[in-house]
């Protein structure tokens, strides 16, 4: 069994909205990693209707990308990636941020539980283990704690970093996400749906860095509004009867 060497098709989905300063750096880090470790991670940048130079940079540097003809927001962009992954028959799809927050070196840890069939869905977590020095601001950490508590309350499973955008999905979940992926607050909402449908979710420690440029999609003064909405979404998702399988 240990010698089992199946070549898995792995896709990195990189949603990018106005990431002209980071996208090339992120792409190059993946290519360098592929060369160095002889890995075969494919990349698909989803340009979410950027208004800056993201599109040109992708074209000039031959970065594989899908440019959405209109801005859809993070949920719609990531779902496009899952649709592509489903169409091209990928075994594992990984959400990877285009802003330099995520580190390519942890992708192998992220996909390991899926390859070993120990998990359907893996979340790269800042709050498991002590790898990540950067843990976001105090207020945001507090918010994440509340979301985590709510998910635990409604589903009975503790997810320490429910807002992490560094996640890996197996074939079955790729299909599900391609068909339906939450519009709003996709990270915590989709986790709730997965738990409700009895998928095995594993959290592994990863290191995240501070954003290297651009703006986070969660703006500070919107935090309270965001929290109220997320709570509502978690609640609604947890009472949804509809099975996604």
């Amino acid at each position: 069994m240990k010698e089992r060497k199946i070549i898995m098709k792995i896709l990195l989905i990189i949603p990018a909205y106005n990431e002209q300063d980071n996208i090339l750096k992120t792409y190059n880090s993946i290519i360098e990693y592929n060369v160095k470790f002889k890995s075969h991670y494919d990349v698909m940048v989803i340009n979410d209707g950027s208004t800056d130079n993201t599109e040109n940079i992708c074209n000039e540097n031959n970065i594989p990308h899908i440019s959405l003809i209109h801005n859809l927001g993070i949920g719609g962009a990531v779902q496009t990636g899952y649709k592509y992954a489903k169409e091209k028959n990928y075994d594992i799809a990984i959400q990877f941020d285009g802003d330099g927050q995520h580190n390519i070196n942890y992708v192998k840890d992220l996909i390991k539980p899926i390859i070993d069939l120990n998990a359907d869905f893996v979340i790269g977590s800042r709050f498991v283990g002590n790898l990540s020095k950067f843990k976001s601001t105090k207020s945001r950490q507090f918010g994440i704690k509340i979301i985590s508590f709510l998910i635990n309350f409604f589903t009975g499973k503790k997810i320490y970093d429910p807002t992490s955008g560094f996640r890996a999905a197996n074939r079955e979940i790729i299909k599900i996400f391609a068909n339906s992926y939450p519009f709003e607050y996709p990270e915590p909402s989709s986790i709730v749906t997965l738990i409700k449908n009895k998928f095995k979710i594993v959290e592994i420690p990863v290191e995240m860095s501070e954003r290297q440029g651009g703006k986070s999609s969660i703006i500070k003064w919107k935090v309270i509004y965001y929290m109220l909405n997320v709570s509502l979404f978690i609640f609604i998702n947890s009472i949804k009867k509809r099975s996604v399988k």
Binding site: H65, I66, S67, L68, I69, H70, L72, G76, Q79, T80, K83, Y84, E87, F183
Partner: protein, 116 residues
């Protein structure tokens, strides 16, 4: 109700119905969504022509004042219309998202084929 008021209200209602029909005729209003407005117009017409009928109805239900029933009814109808509009908007947002995604994926494919 005085005859003057009746005539004024009738003119208003006819204008309302005329607008609905005008918009349908020029393909600016979907018949599916026009139905509810025609229904509202019909209620308005009935209440103007036979005020005694709604007067009786309001008494049977137990309203002290007729105007209370009319205001409540009007608000409820508007609430219903507002809510169904939100449902329609959500459905359209979903299909717009789907369209955007599929067109964008197709566009990428066409571009890639051209490059070869």
């Amino acid at each position: 109700m005085s005859t003057d008021l009746k005539i004024e209200l009738l003119i208003f209602t006819f204008f309302f119905v005329f607008s609905i029909l005008y918009f349908i005729r020029n393909d600016k209003l979907n018949i599916r969504y026009a139905f509810i407005w025609l229904f509202v117009a019909a209620i308005m017409l009935i209440s103007i022509i036979t005020p005694n009928l709604i007067y009786t109805i309001s008494h049977i239900i137990g309203f002290v004042q007729l105007s209370n029933m009319i205001f409540l009814g009007g608000i409820l109808i508007l609430l219903f219309i507002c809510f169904s509009l939100t449902v329609i908007v959500s459905r359209q947002a979903e299909s717009l998202k789907l369209l955007t995604q599929e067109v964008s994926i197709l566009k990428t494919k066409v571009y890639d084929i051209k490059k070869l």
